[in-house]
Subunit: 302 residues, 2 copies
Amino acid sequence: MTENLASWNDGPTKSAIVAFVDKVVAADVPVEERVAVFDADGTLWCEQPVPAEAGFILAKLAEMAEASPERRTRQPWKAAYEHDNAWLGKVITDHYAGDDAGAKLLLSGIGTAFADMDVENFQTQSGTFLRDTMHPTLHQPLVGLTYAPMLELLRHLEANGFSTWIVSGSGSDFMRPVAQEAFGIPTERVIASLSPIEYTAADGGRITRKAQFGFLDDGPQKPVQIWNGVGRRPLLAVGNSNGDTMLEFEPHPGRPSLRLLVNHDDAAREFAYGSGAERALAAASENGWTVVSMKNDFARVF
Amino acid sequence: MTENLASWNDGPTKSAIVAFVDKVVAADVPVEERVAVFDADGTLWCEQPVPAEAGFILAKLAEMAEASPERRTRQPWKAAYEHDNAWLGKVITDHYAGDDAGAKLLLSGIGTAFADMDVENFQTQSGTFLRDTMHPTLHQPLVGLTYAPMLELLRHLEANGFSTWIVSGSGSDFMRPVAQEAFGIPTERVIASLSPIEYTAADGGRITRKAQFGFLDDGPQKPVQIWNGVGRRPLLAVGNSNGDTMLEFEPHPGRPSLRLLVNHDDAAREFAYGSGAERALAAASENGWTVVSMKNDFARVF
């Protein structure tokens, strides 16, 4: 059955999506194998000017610098306090280029920012941040900056027996408090980066965050996390132009497969950005992935 | 609604189960919070004389010793080749007593036994082992040695809106190939120990096991794994007399809660074993957990 896909313009991308789902149904693929995985930042919701979790962390670091002046001279607190997004941007660019010096500094700061916090308390804070923080240029709360065509695609898949999963580089305790309201996806289908947490038996059992950076569910870790969390190869994988190894992770031969790569080429309605896009678009062309042009394929964005 | 619970004898245990589920429904607890977690070995299926995965590993180590005589003089291959279950038993006893020397030896052997094997191949081998291996005294294939009252409890919970999860110290790639047929639980609701695996992009993406021992989902790691995998505190937790930290991990105050501790006290129909049972039974008494006596509460075992 075809659910409402009204936010998609007619064209080869929409046709490829509808044809893929119809093929899965026509081939009578067992329901338990109908697994669809979606990256989050830049795929299901906006990741500019910074991914939502980075914004959350920067706000927390700025708060720490506010409370303690000596931190204002040290990174990552200095950048957070001075709203120096360029420093963070460089950390990310360096990371993708293989230089993790800045990332290590940032991650050690993040570790101290949330050390010993109960996971429930962390979730409450991240949920509040996502609901209450307005995007600087799009003038909507961050939680609402989900792409309408992607929400329709999620529902279309579910109506055809798919289970839909989020596989994100952001933290699972960051994403989960809003997963149902933002994406219609329950917490247990959010596979994301895991920060080290520990259990103590006091008071009916407490789980708290450790003062370390966690595992970044990115690059080659994504297929591993899909395997550990789902235990199956996805028929559909959707990522964006930052590049995404999970698009390479194919179902078993003979199973229908679709790989969608979202290209951020719409400066008027969202953002146009190319970091890594050339490489991702070349990979798409080489591997037969379907490129989703936000400009051409999205009838509306949000 | 009460599903068939005919394999449970009437008595306080069965009454406590029925009353708990009725209370969850009457209190209109949101369906997404109706989470029930079950240990596997000794809780959902037989773990004597050795847990199923230990049997699988020993068979593999024996096969390696068969092929290579020099291994027959070294542990863990020596014990596997000579069917020396006493050595393995001591490794486990020592582990629970805090001495992991034997466990390290065993785990390093396990690492080499499955190194570089595709996860799919590993699953095929473990599924075949569980279906084809007869239990030495109970004369049924291992996959069939599930406890009938527990299967009924799983279905009763699901009929009342619960999601049921396996949280096991055995490996996830070991349990998952039979999770649906043995327990009626889909692969993605099996949270178990994770062995280190790695992804390579060749051939549509391969995931292979590394030559290391993985994470043992036991002790204080169980609540952590529940949090990472489910993202919620369980209303119902079921473990057995080896003791289980996940029974301590309580839902939020005000939510209905039930903790079941399976006591293996039925030498006639299964096994009676006390390793750790005194401590677990004392904890049950102290914390108000409900003890399931296999002898008195199970009308039939298998």
